[in-house]
Subunit: 139 residues, 2 copies
Amino acid sequence: MKYLHTMVRVTNLEQSLAFYGQALGLVVVRKNEYPKGRFTLVYLAAPGEEQAQVELTYNWDPETYTGGRNFGHIAFAVENIYATCTRLMDHGVTIARPPRDGHMAFVRSPDAISIELLQQGEPLAPAEPWISMPNVGSW
Amino acid sequence: MKYLHTMVRVTNLEQSLAFYGQALGLVVVRKNEYPKGRFTLVYLAAPGEEQAQVELTYNWDPETYTGGRNFGHIAFAVENIYATCTRLMDHGVTIARPPRDGHMAFVRSPDAISIELLQQGEPLAPAEPWISMPNVGSW
């Protein structure tokens, strides 16, 4: 038995690829278009860790997606949580829970999927601008 | 960067451990109780694949969890999809989308988290009782 992926639905594939790809740092492993079903599937994963994936389902006919409390978040370990959060901010992503402790941060995808970031190994030394950065909304 | 886990919230830890553990076949990797925060975290994973986990969050003070469309499902590859579905049924789990094709099935957790099961490698030969088993609900 093996974990394959967590699937999330996205309203805008371009925005979602910018978020999960350029901003978060995942890489596209596979992309399949299904014209008959009118949907596209994109599989992303951490570089070099292609077996554990996030699957984006993009339905070509517009739908609005809201969240529910039974799902919590998807978590990734990152090499440098400050570098990851800086890159996310550079792409316009709000850091909902900044890494004030050098250890943990939360952001949300364009469709409000909560993403947890955890510093690999020991926490980094607390540093600005993170120490002074307030929480924004929920995550 | 590395995928760590997908977190879901559960209203009943015992029922959820029966579902994700005995019925689905994941094993408990770690369990932590937080009396001050009044919650318990349980991490499960496929046997021998402990790095990619499902995190169950059990809040001791009752909450009701509903689903949202932005989250889709969590997917696992299984060695024998018929054996997995039989075990799930033996534990009272409804097979929402039976593996009529010997390839794919869907079930839902006690908190309506959708779980996709995919046969590893080639699909199995179509067989009863699956061929004649109708879909139940959505997934």
